[in-house]
């Protein structure tokens, strides 16, 4: 029996399983008020998913507003937060759209499929803006490298990203692999996608124009990810109780590749009025959002949705998270052309409804009306919570327990090798060699570069050539954020910003993925509030607006949350990709120069973590003016062709930066340290620093540039030879560095 609107009106007292769907009683009450009656099962399905934390941002909304209110003025911002992804002007008529999103929980349950569908989801967000997706990145965090479950999760996640991304033909141009026991039950899989489009071709998720057709295209709908909806179907209709439906979504990258090409051809043919991808909340989300942003009304015949499993109930169809689906609004005249293009790409497409101006979203099933709601109430007017928050109980004690008490090493050679061979600092090649970084032929920089860089070329037929490129980096440091979430978020931004700048690209805009524990825990909520405040303030100071992002709450096991982990992605622009600067020492006889000042800063450092398992004190100081000055120097120096190599300093400090610079092309260096404490000089993690190398005759010009931007500049020595020599302190053959660095992950994962 179908729970129709008519039946709902007739049976006002029928109990509905809103609690099983994660809805609070007052939320359910509000639905009843909006509708003036109890919701039908299908309506309840829609409201419960649309008002879930994941879709409505009900706990985070009040904080995220700061990204708008504090946003720096930026002429580059074309589409800001609130759309599927932000869009920025990157010059010569081109716009870039990029976003990072989490798929944490599914990747723990089924690492391969969870991570794969994470990539698939973010790629569809980018497609829905009218862009051609051109690259992906993945920021990953796992439990301790030696913990048993990490051996299940990491290989599966990497294989999932590799399989899906490679099969889509999107180069993987960067990411992170971080290990910390706090992630053992909650690995973080944050996937980023970037796309390009012409500035005047931006598509939006909107359904205007009564009489226009609503087309569902892509994969058929199955019982993916509808655990909740099954509850609904069985709880409401005992007679038809359903077998337990699976929660795991399985991806089909081949279908997604077809969808990409199909969408681009649809855009080229100009037969799309509005478009929306189907992600979490599937048809519910796409129909309510499209209708709410368009003329306001829509009719849908749910019987027309093509099904993979013919036994699905309407509630389940509404909640299904089947992958590789899109929804478009198309004028009736353009339907034949639209269908022909879908057919060319073997993409199934079905008209399932029509745009109206009634202000109602009306859905039918077997001829009966089962949904009749004002779509905006589901899409935009969800609950908003001002969750209570306060500083965690032990925060002050944690900050007081600084690294000063830790014994400092005598043998710096051994310390360097120990850090270089640790899972967090060792080579990530075990991971990155499973990713195609070359496909599409525009990858200017990928691993082991500090930022990925892409040439803007041959994106779509007919567009004229440009010398421009874009660069992207993601960073995050959960330990820093644990010690001080405000500063930790700023340090994440600063590092990503710096990583973009070292390649010669000017940072332009920001995306972020905020990974936290439960928002119902006031201590976690404090971490969240502080991190957002820190990030918004820093974006303002650095002049880079947040264009979009994603919040992932409930990353916790029992009452133990992960470290607060804001992951920040920065996109930059370079006018001429030929002027990009690579990381590391390309040849001998170059001057090695350190930019920026080093202080005694070991709170949350890799050294404290690896050698003492210690986390306490405060993270490195944030100086955003210094960060901005450093970036100005790096970008100007690249533009003037002064830099032969450039690498940022971050985890592990100067020691690790020097080692990585030597490893890049097997060129050694001999340096002396600027300060009087070799340990501090080598391993401190002070922010706002970079290591560059220049031809000797270019040093003056660089020093002059540094002076102008008030960036401290220290000549350390010269490149060349086959060893890394720190005078009076250590000497390590590059071959030994390589063996240590390369062996870190294979030693664990085979």
């Amino acid at each position: 029996m179908t729970d129709s609107v008519k039946r709902a009106a007739e049976t006002p007292d029928e109990p509905m399983p809103y609690a099983e769907l994660g809805m609070k009683q007052d939320e359910y009450q509000r639905v009843c008020e909006i509708l003036g009656r109890r919701p039908t099962g299908s309506e309840l399905a829609i409201y419960s998913v649309m008002w879930s934390e994941h879709c409505s941002y009900k706990s985070s909304k009040v904080h995220l507003r700061q990204f708008g209110t504090k946003a720096p003025k930026s002429d580059a911002l074309l589409v800001g937060m609130g759309e599927n992804a932000g869009v920025v002007d990157v010059g010569d008529g081109w716009a870039a759209t990029f976003k990072i999103e989490s798929h944490n929980h599914p990747s723990y349950v089924e690492p391969h499929q969870g991570a794969a569908t994470g990539v698939g989801g973010i790629v569809r967000d980018i497609m829905s803006m009218g862009a051609r997706p051109i690259a992906v990145m993945d920021a990953l965090r796992f439990g301790g490298a030696d913990q048993q479950d990490t051996r299940r999760v990491l290989p599966g996640v990497v294989e999932g990203i590799s399989h899906y991304g490679n099969c889509l033909g999107l180069p993987n141009i960067g990411g992170e692999v971080v290990f910390d026991p706090c992630y053992i039950g909650n690995p973080l899989v944050n996937a980023l996608c970037v796309g390009l489009l012409r500035k005047d071709q931006i598509k939006l998720a909107t359904a205007p124009g009564p009489g226009n057709k609503v087309v569902l295209f892509g994969a058929r709908t199955g019982a993916d990810g509808i655990g909740g909806a099954s509850v609904l179907a069985s709880a409401t209709f005992e007679d038809e109780s359903q077998a337990k439906r699976p929660a795991v979504q399985v991806g089909d990258p081949f279908m997604e590749k077809l969808l990409i090409e199909c969408c681009l051809e649809l855009y080229q043919a100009d037969v799309v009025v509005g478009i929306q991808d189907l992600g979490a909340a599937g048809v519910s989300c796409a129909t309510t959002e499209l209708a709410a942003k368009g003329t306001g009304g829509m009719t849908v015949d749910l019987n027309l949705v093509p099904l993979r499993d013919p036994t699905l109930r309407p509630e389940e169809i509404l909640m299904s998270e089947s992958q590789e689906r899109m929804m478009a609004v198309v004028t009736p005249e353009d339907i034949p052309a639209f269908m022909a293009i879908c057919q060319k790409w073997d993409v199934p497409a079905t008209v399932i409804g029509e745009v109206t101006d009634t202000g109602r979203l009306v859905m039918t099933w077997d001829g009966e009306t089962i949904v009749d709601i004002p779509p905006g109430t589901a899409a935009d007017e969800g609950p908003v919570y001002e969750r209570p928050f306060h500083e965690p109980e032990g925060q002050a004690a944690l900050n007081a327990d600084g690294p000063e008490r830790l014994p400092r090493p005598e043998d710096l050679r051994e310390t360097l090798l120990r850090l270089l061979g640790s899972p967090n600092l060792g080579s990530k090649e075990w991971v990155t060699s499973q990713y195609d970084r070359y496909v599409r032929g525009n990858t200017v920089l990928a691993q082991p570069a500090d930022a990925g860089m892409l040439r803007i070329s041959e994106v779509m037929p007919g567009a004229e050539e440009t010398t421009r490129g874009i660069a992207l980096a993601t960073d995050g440091n959960g330990r820093y954020a644990r010690l001080d979430p405000y500063a930790g978020a700023q340090l994440a931004l600063a590092e990503a910003y710096r990583n973009v700048a070292v390649t010669g690209a000017a940072p332009l805009a920001v995306t972020n993925c905020l990974n936290f524990g439960s928002p119902e825990d006031p201590e976690v909520m404090w971490q969240f509030a502080e991190a957002v405040r820190g990030l918004a303030d820093a974006c303002k100071t650095l002049g880079v607006p947040v264009t979009g992002g994603n919040v992932s709450f409930y990353n916790q096991t029992g009452s133990t949350a992960i470290h607060p982990t804001p992951v920040v992605g920065v996109l930059g622009v370079i006018d001429d990709v030929a002027k990009r600067v690579r990381s590391g020492f390309p040849a001998g006889d170059l001057r090695v120069v350190l930019l920026g000042d080093t202080r005694d800063e070991f709170g949350g450092s890799e050294w404290a973590h690896v050698t003492h398992g210690h986390l306490g004190g405060l993270p490195p100081a944030v100086d955003l003016e210094a960060e901005r000055g450093l970036a100005s120097v790096l970008v100007a120096a690249a533009e003037q062709g002064l830099l032969e190599g450039s690498h940022d300093l971050s985890d592990g400090g100067l020691a690790i930066a020097l080692a990585e610079a030597c490893l890049a092309r097997g060129v050694g260096a001999t340096v002396s340290l600027p300060g009087d404490d070799a340990f501090v000089d080598l391993f401190s993690e002070s922010a706002s620093r970079a290591l560059v190398c220049v031809r000797p005759e270019a040093f003056e010009a660089l020093a002059e540039l540094c002076g102008r931007h008030e960036v401290p500049c220290y000549g350390l020595g010269t490149t060349g030879g086959t060893s890394l020599v720190v005078e009076g302190t250590l000497e390590i053959p590059v071959a030994e560095l390589r063996e240590t660095h390369a062996g870190a992950l294979p030693a664990i994962f085979g």
């Binding site: 294989e159 889509l168 081949f254 499973q434 195609d436 990858t443 200017v444 040439r455």
Partner: protein, 227 residues
């Protein structure tokens, strides 16, 4: 004289077609898009079957593409001497179509692998390798999950003794391929397949840290011009 016309085939799931076309153009030839569903080779002088995951590579790499309408035209044309180069998925398709012997199977390490790979050119008499020197060592990217060449012992010894092993991995075998075989040719030398990607080694700024892939395109252009 008109530029030589090299067809670049797109199947559903082909990925490196844009790169192949770019490499063809950089070499001074015209890249002609060929669509899998057409029975039409558009009169091209040579054909490039690029890499990718045609049909998702779900069943076996190249297994489904081999039956595309375009292949009905390509197979007899190749048998009649049309120069054909298949890289990666293109190589797999050529094997599935029996234009080349043997098969490509799951990498021994069981992982997809993307790296810059040393390769020795063993045969410079094919349509696609005449511009190399015999024994020349070059660097091309490999990027595949199923590139381990296998064939029965008779086939392999026939390939070896007739010089039809055109490319061999050096400095480490990425996939466990028999005899380090990276690429082979048919008897006439007009059909060549290899796992590495010459089209990703034609520019300084992008792709592998070499431009060794250019030799494939200069080879075929010389042949077409002299024909």
């Amino acid at each position: 004289m008109n530029a030589a016309r090299v067809g670049v085939v797109t199947f559903p799931g082909t990925l490196d077609d844009q790169d192949a076309a770019r490499a063809v153009r950089l070499a001074g030839a015209e890249a002609v898009p060929l669509w899998h569903a057409d029975h039409d080779l558009k009169g091209v002088d040579a054909v490039f079957l690029p890499g990718g995951f045609s049909y998702g590579d779900y069943l076996r790499c190249g297994a489904i593409s081999r039956f595309a309408p375009l292949m009905d035209e390509l197979i007899p044309a190749a048998r009649a001497g049309l120069p054909v180069l298949g890289t990666c998925n293109g190589f797999q398709i050529l094997c599935e179509a029996h234009l080349l012997p043997g098969a490509l199977t799951r990498n021994e390490g069981l992982h997809y692998i993307c790296r810059d790979q040393g390769i020795r050119v063993e045969n410079t008499s094919t349509a696609w390798t005449s511009d190399f020197e015999a024994g020349q060592e070059i660097v091309l990217p490999v990027k595949h999950g199923e590139g381990r060449y296998v064939a029965d012992a008779d086939t392999v010894s026939a390939l070896e003794s007739s010089g039809r092993v055109v490319f061999r991995y050096v400095g480490g075998n990425p996939n466990g391929s028999l005899n380090d075989i990276a690429g082979i040719a048919n008897e006439a030398g007009n059909v060549v397949g290899l796992m590495p990607h010459p089209e990703h080694a034609v520019e300084d700024l992008t792709g592998a840290p070499s431009v060794d892939g250019r030799g494939f395109f200069t080879s075929i252009l010389k042949k077409l011009v002299n024909a």
